[in-house]
Subunit: 305 residues, 2 copies
């Protein structure tokens, strides 16, 4: 791997000059003869020189890298892509650290520190996990974006749920059932459902796994609703499967609407769903974190988005 020293020797100038030219400082503060500039550039090219980011990072004390820590699951891919593409625009790159039995959140954070990353994104769904973070971690002053995929700010779960349910109401549906589940995100979506039902003076009805002896799907059918609002797509899809099995057609018998995790367009019948803008979330997530990095806030930051 050839270094500036070698190109200095080859071109017959000092390493400093090479450094200046290769960093384009002759276009800024310094003035260097075009002749020299050209020679240096050509030699660098000829020798196949590639800048060493490692050194830049060492000198600066931190690398142009953002670590994403998560228990990676399929739906995160677009988010990550958003981060990665946006990061690239600013010359940053993305490093992944998987949570697993062999790697706790605290370990993952330390790994990120070892690489002297500029920022960290923790994609964790439940807040309890954040509470477990070793307080000592914050002394390093690395900005952390607690990108809970479920938080307001990036994506308003409750508000979007309201939109979805409102839509069902606007179609004339009155008996709207909510197929729910226990989780922070689901809770926010359920709240949206409740808001709209109340606002329209409609009696809410939330069914969950365990709501009925016959199984929740059967319960849905028995309830004979106009529409079913499912708090996430997997739930909606499993309902559709059950209905298919029973030869109950959607939307003939009643409507089913899902919520944002998966390729619902693949279902039969294609599922109406509130799509979460994952890719965009990733893009914005980076912009957000980057602005914190750029501002160089001194105090450790745990951004709540």
């Amino acid at each position: 791997m050839i270094s500036m020293k070698e190109i200095a020797a080859e071109a017959g100038v000092s390493r400093t000059t090479v450094s200046f030219v290769l960093n384009g400082r002759h276009e800024r503060d310094l003035k260097i003869s075009t002749e020299v500039v050209e020679k240096v550039k050509r030699t660098a090219e000829k020798l196949g020189y590639v800048r060493n980011e490692l050194v830049q990072s060492l000198v600066k004390g931190k690398s142009k890298v953002i670590a994403i820590i998560a228990h990676f699951s399929d739906f995160m891919m677009p988010i990550i892509r958003g981060y990665s593409e946006t990061a690239a625009k600013y010359g940053y790159s993305i490093s992944l650290i998987s949570l697993s039995e062999n790697c706790t959140l605290n370990q993952a954070l330390m790994t990120a520190v070892e690489y002297r990353v500029s920022g960290i994104v923790v994609m964790t769904l439940e807040p309890e996990e954040k509470a477990q973070v070793n307080p000592g971690f914050f002394q390093y002053g690395i900005p952390v974006s607690g990108l809970d995929v479920n938080r307001k700010g990036f994506f308003d779960q409750e508000g979007s749920a309201e939109v979805a349910v409102n839509y069902l109401v606007s179609l004339g549906h009155r008996k709207i059932i909510c197929l729910g589940q226990q989780s922070v995100v689901a809770g926010q979506r359920i709240q949206g459902y409740l808001n709209i039902m109340e606002k329209n003076g409609l009696p809410p009805c939330i069914l969950e796994d365990g709501s009925s002896h016959h199984g929740v799907h059967e319960a849905v059918v028995e309830a004979n609703p106009d529409a079913v609002f499912c708090v996430n797509d997997p739930l909606a899809l499993s309902l559709l499967q059950y209905l298919y099995h029973r030869r109950i057609f959607v939307p003939d018998a009643f409507s089913v609407i899902g919520f944002g995790n998966l390729g619902a367009e693949l279902a039969s019948p294609s599922l109406t769903t509130i799509r979460e803008p994952y890719y965009e979330t990733g893009c914005l997530g980076f912009e957000n974190l980057y602005s914190i990095i750029r501002d160089g806030r001194k105090s450790p930051v745990w951004s709540e988005n």
Copy 2:
């Protein structure tokens, strides 16, 4: 960020000693008084010292990082997770470089070189893209694993297709249609289909988008098959949607089998499919690349897996 120098000062020893202790060399070649060892360790702990991977990388000339280059799409998440988790076991981490309009394969490769990564994985589906790689890249001697998700070795597309079609035959189906598509992977799967049909003396029938004026789905129905072998899940799912629309039931009318990309278990009816072992592919992919890195083959390597 505190350094070994500071630990040395605080503990009243030289930086070398600190380095030795923190690298556990007192447990190997060198002997250092337990007293000193303890003091150093305690001080390091107290000051919140975190090793600097950047420096290790700089000194070694390469970082313990594997770059994954791809146009990231959803189904790759499990592969990446496989890489990431396995890499972690060996103290390596994963860096992502997204291909996009702003980043060509060659640019991505250079970025990887700038970070002095130990190895590169290029997940690209079609071989033409590999042909475009700047030959100069290979001078850096970084092992590249051309993890074509579609290649034999990691996953035998043709053989798996044979298994799938064989299964249909074993169920007594005779008129088996193949719903195909143009791509390297699809081609391999189609070949598997052809092999089995021929072996059983059955007439093959391949339908593709454009095979019929009425649309390929309609063509499938008109063909009145016993079973349909779809070369990938999206194709199968879109067929299921059409069938649902027509109120043609699967598997009552005929069977539909898919092939490996997506959460087919979510479809209604749940789609029988050949699942590709993506996560495992990622794990093996890392092991494979790592063995090349460890062996330190000098010549540039483009592993075909």
